[in-house]
């Protein structure tokens, strides 16, 4: 069930009303959350419900056992890792490994005929697997006590707002919220709904509109180059941001209407002044997960400079592969890993250069310059993330330098899938989003809105809904899917 679908528009109000009817009874409330979460997930494919139940069951039992045992803790943790990562590897990487094996064999002149398996990737498996893993690992590290409440735990794993695309919640943050009841809070519900509307704005008006042009160019990469690919790449940067952060906003907003608090997943990442900062603002729940469960166990920054660089590099390669089993995702991870290592290694040198050049860190010119540089690097890396395959990605990279800027001044610009008015809407929406993010960082716009007279607020709410339905993109299966569902 997609958040931007009529199905969800029917599903959620029903769940919302029932939820607040039973909110005082914890067991009934958690049962409702679990039931509706399974219904939400089963809407895609009922079969995959078994996986999520299995994953929840294994981690609930393992968590409890680790809590009791002292000598078999490691074995139990491995059991949990084996089941969870095993399922993830099977569904996500089997075909990639088979294909890579065949390709390497062929590369060295060998001949082998192995066909890939017909495996469908269950929606959101990477997200809930990481979420449940954090539970068992934290218990193993004595950072968390195992829960005895299976209903709360199963609800925590399957919590429908963030089940399929995060934020990847830690058990220590989300699980305790299933132990207590909430009172209906009008302001909290309103704030949640506004966040949902903001998420839908990002998704339906910006991401899905940009997707039309991006898909046209990236799916026919040999037909386009130069300015066309630059436009498509920049738009993809906004598409993926609005798509994913839009989903996160909706997830956080929906949870908030039910009284739950989910972690922040994005923090205006395109205003970052370095790639290191970018990763502190982009997909925060995943980057902190990798920090806590991969980077730190590898030794983090405590084993010398070189080892720190290697650890960072490993984290980004793993991060690339987490997104997808393809060489393009691997390259995307390598680019980010390389730049982060480079930033770390040249930190002192850069500080010296900047001070000699008179660049003041807090000046607007510094912020604009380095935000643009970071955005350019991030956008370049997105080429590999978005391209359908390595060949396409290389074609796009080569085509970037074609001099056909004249297209900007001709009607050919409108032949990339979006007509003039649609491009104008897209440009205005992106600029509005950036302005909103700048203003929102200074003053919480929701708080300002709440201070306004009722008439103004209602006009604003109606306007938001009408803007969504007038300018939103609907029903096109190519674009309305959330990108991160595939991971």
């Amino acid at each position: 069930m997609l958040f931007n679908s009529i199905d969800f528009a029917i599903f959620f109000p029903i769940v919302f009303v029932l939820y607040w009817l039973v909110a005082k009874n914890l067991t009934l409330r958690n049962a409702l959350i679990l039931g509706s979460s399974y219904f939400f997930y089963g809407w895609w494919d009922v079969k995959f419900l078994l996986l999520i139940i299995l994953s929840s069951f294994v981690d609930f039992i393992v968590g409890k056992s680790i809590g009791k045992q002292t000598n078999r803790k490691k074995n139990l943790l491995f059991a949990s890792l084996f089941v969870n990562l095993g399922l993830l590897f099977y569904f996500k990487y089997t075909n990639f490994l088979i294909q890579s094996f065949v390709d390497s064999f062929t590369f060295f002149g060998g001949k082998i005929e192995v066909s890939t398996l017909n495996i469908i990737l269950p929606v959101g498996i990477s997200f809930y697997t990481f979420q449940t893993l954090s539970y068992t690992i934290d218990i193993y590290r004595n950072k968390l006590k195992p829960t005895k409440n299976w209903l709360a735990f199963f609800s925590f794993v399957a919590f429908f707002p963030q089940l399929v695309a995060g934020p990847i919640e830690r058990a220590s943050h989300l699980l305790p919220q299933f132990y207590k009841t909430y009172k209906f809070n009008y302001n909290q519900v309103k704030s949640g709904l506004l966040l949902v509307a903001f998420g839908l704005f990002k998704k339906m008006i910006i991401a899905d509109r940009a997707a039309i042009l991006v898909n046209q160019v990236y799916n026919n990469s040999t037909d386009y180059n130069g300015v066309e690919t630059i436009i498509a790449t920049i738009l993809f940067a906004f598409q993926i941001y609005c798509d994913f952060s839009g989903y996160s906003d909706i997830a956080i907003g929906i949870s908030r209407t039910l009284g739950f608090d989910l972690m922040k997943n994005f923090d205006s990442p395109y205003f970052s002044k370095s790639i290191t900062e970018f990763w502190r603002r982009w997909h925060i729940s995943l980057s902190t997960w990798f920090r806590d469960y991969v980077y730190i166990p590898l030794g983090g920054s405590k084993k010398g400079k070189n080892r720190t660089y290697v650890n960072l590099f490993i984290v980004f390669i793993v991060s690339g592969l987490w997104h997808g089993a393809a060489i393009t995702f691997l390259i995307w991870g390598v680019i980010h890993g390389f730049i982060i290592v480079l930033e770390k290694a040249t930190k002192n040198l850069r500080v010296n250069i900047y001070s000699k050049l008179g660049l003041i860190k807090n000046s607007i010119s510094y912020k604009i310059l380095f935000s643009l540089i970071t955005f350019t690097i991030v956008s370049f890396a997105w080429i590999f993330f978005r391209a359908n395959n390595f060949k396409d990605a290389m074609h796009i990279v080569n085509g970037l330098f074609e001099n056909n800027y004249i297209i900007l001044f001709t009607s050919n610009l409108y032949k990339l899938g979006l007509i003039r008015s649609e491009l104008i809407i897209l440009a205005i929406s992106i600029i509005s989003l950036l302005i909103f993010e700048i203003l929102n960082r200074r003053n919480n716009i929701q708080v300002i809105l709440n201070r306004q007279p009722m008439f103004f607020r209602w006009i604003t709410y109606l306007l938001i809904v009408f803007v969504l339905i007038i300018f939103g993109i609907y029903g096109d299966n190519d674009t309305s899917q959330f990108i991160y569902f595939q991971f």
Binding site: I6, V189, K190, W458, Y461, L462, I469, I470, G475, D476
Partner: protein
């Protein structure tokens, strides 16, 4: 919680009321919605029904044809209409015998009507006609899967991307349409080729002369099975229902220029011959119709001028090929229908209104008037009576003016419903235009200042008016005032001399 639910209910009631109001404002480009309703409400029987894409919409001025023939016609062509959709619309109305044309069904056929429907943009373009077929999805499904298209929850939502355009234009356009059909037609066929476009196709004349030969020598370009079958079905259904059918390819620079399309026209000729169906390719009559670049709004579509040329030619062809039996009705043409309406008289200053102004005869000559401001602090001007207009027209407004004893700037405004207007300010010392500004309803504005004797100037404003009614506002102004608010406050006494008898408004 109850408070929240109450608010939600109120919000949704408000939302749906607003949605409903906005929904009713939506009509499609090219009036397809209105024309289909006109056809289906069965208030009148039609002699000719025109169908097809924008070529149909823009090539046949039904009002002009009906005036000449004293017939009743309707054009249900629409922008970018795929032939499958044309076929679906046809299947939709063919069921009802009362909707059949009395004389002839004229269907436009061109290569663009057979574009691949898989392209998203092309699918989007089909939405307007599709929305009209809400009760005939089954028919539409015959040709392609309706599931490929976004669902319709509201007309408003369906046409979201066109909404800004629709909201601005719909009200005026609908009223114009309801008041007088040809206005809608005129609106859709404005425009001319640019110099560059003309240069790029400078061989048009030669190409048009060679067209027929080129088609003859081309290798047939066949359509795919489904497409061909849809044409054949169309023909057989017409035969079954005893409807006289004519396929026409209207003239287009594209068709003449692109030789690779010529095989398609050869294919059509063979196909229609095979199925004994009437077909006229008007591209073969370019020189007979005396078509030039000035008759096209782009490479595909005729403009007003082109339309005036094609209409009599087409009628002659219909009569010559005995495709209609309307000839006897020609006798009943009311001559008055063909007479041009006189331009409104605006020179009678006694009918003018005054706002903080006086109009007095000049001491030296009774024919000359002095318009003076009576207030420095408030807006001052004089205005003509409101002139009603039922169609889009081009006017040339001219008046002889001389600088006053206090001031040498003259303001002229053509205004419909405020703030829709066009403003112009003339400098009567230098004999030049200071500026021209427009806000909706008025287009293609240009000015001219012709020096006359004794410091008089003829100030001319040419413009296109798309408003239902308008008035002309004139008065003295000063250099410091903006063009768009020339009538606003001044810092000194301010007047101007005018010759009311020279105040004219001529249609061109």
């Amino acid at each position: 919680m109850i408070k929240f639910y109450k608010k939600v209910i109120i919000f949704f009631v408000l939302f749906f009321v607003l949605l409903k109001c906005l929904d009713s404002l939506i009509i499609h480009d090219e009036f397809l919605h209105a024309t289909l309703n006109q056809l289906k409400d069965k208030k009148e029987k039609f002699d000719f029904i025109y169908m097809g894409n924008s070529l149909s919409r823009r090539s046949y001025n039904v009002n002009s044809i009906d005036t000449i023939l004293n017939t009743k016609s309707i054009n249900i062509g629409s922008e970018a209409q795929h032939f499958f959709i044309t076929n679906a619309i046809f299947n939709d109305f063919i069921i009802d015998k009362n909707l059949h044309p009395e004389e002839l069904l004229i269907v436009t056929i061109s290569p663009w009507q057979f574009k691949n429907l898989k392209a998203k943009w092309w699918q989007f373009l089909q939405m307007a006609p599709l929305d009209e077929l809400r009760h005939s999805f089954k028919l539409t499904n015959k040709f392609f899967s309706i599931n490929d298209y976004p669902k319709v929850y509201s007309r408003f939502i369906r046409f979201h991307s066109n909404l800004s355009k629709e909201i601005i234009q719909t009200d005026t356009r609908r009223k114009l349409f309801e008041a007088n059909k040809p206005n809608g037609f005129s609106l859709s066929i404005d425009g001319n080729l640019t110099k560059k476009q003309k240069l790029d196709r400078q061989n048009l004349k030669q190409e048009s002369l060679n067209y027929t030969k080129s088609v003859k020598n081309s290798k047939e370009t066949t359509l795919n099975k489904d497409e061909e079958q849809s044409i054949i079905d169309f023909i057989s259904k017409c035969k079954e229902h005893k409807i006289k059918l004519l396929f026409i390819t209207p003239p287009s620079i594209k068709n003449i220029h692109y030789k690779h399309e010529h095989g398609f026209f050869k294919y059509l000729e063979i196909l229609f011959q095979k199925y004994d169906t009437n077909y006229i390719d008007l591209n073969g009559y370019f020189s007979e119709m005396n078509l030039t670049f000035d008759d096209f709004s782009d490479y595909s579509h005729l403009n007003k001028e082109g339309n005036q040329k094609i209409t009599p030619f087409l009628l002659k062809l219909l009569l010559k090929k005995k495709l209609t039996s309307i000839k006897p009705r020609l006798k009943t043409i009311k001559k008055s229908n063909l007479k041009e309406k006189p331009s409104p008289i605006i020179s009678d200053y006694k009918t003018w209104g005054k706002v903080n102004s006086t109009i007095k005869s000049s001491i030296s000559d009774n024919n000359i008037l002095v318009i003076s401001r009576t207030s420095k602090l408030e807006s001052s001007f004089v205005y003509t009576k409101t002139t009603s207009l039922n169609e889009v027209k081009n006017y040339s407004i001219s008046i002889d003016v001389k600088k006053g004893d206090f001031g040498n700037f003259f303001g002229l405004r053509v205004q419909s419903k405020y703030p829709q207007r066009m403003d112009v300010v003339f400098d009567l010392n230098e004999g030049e235009t200071v500026g021209l500004e427009k806000t909706g309803d008025f287009y293609k504005g240009n000015t001219k200042v012709v020096p006359l004797k004794d410091g008089w100037y003829r100030c001319i404003l040419n413009l296109e008016i798309r408003a239902k009614e308008f008035k002309i506002i004139i008065g003295p102004t000063i250099k410091e005032n903006k063009v768009t608010s020339w009538e606003s406050k001044v810092n000194n006494r301010n007047d101007i001399y005018i010759l009311p008898s020279s105040f004219k408004m001529n249609e061109f």
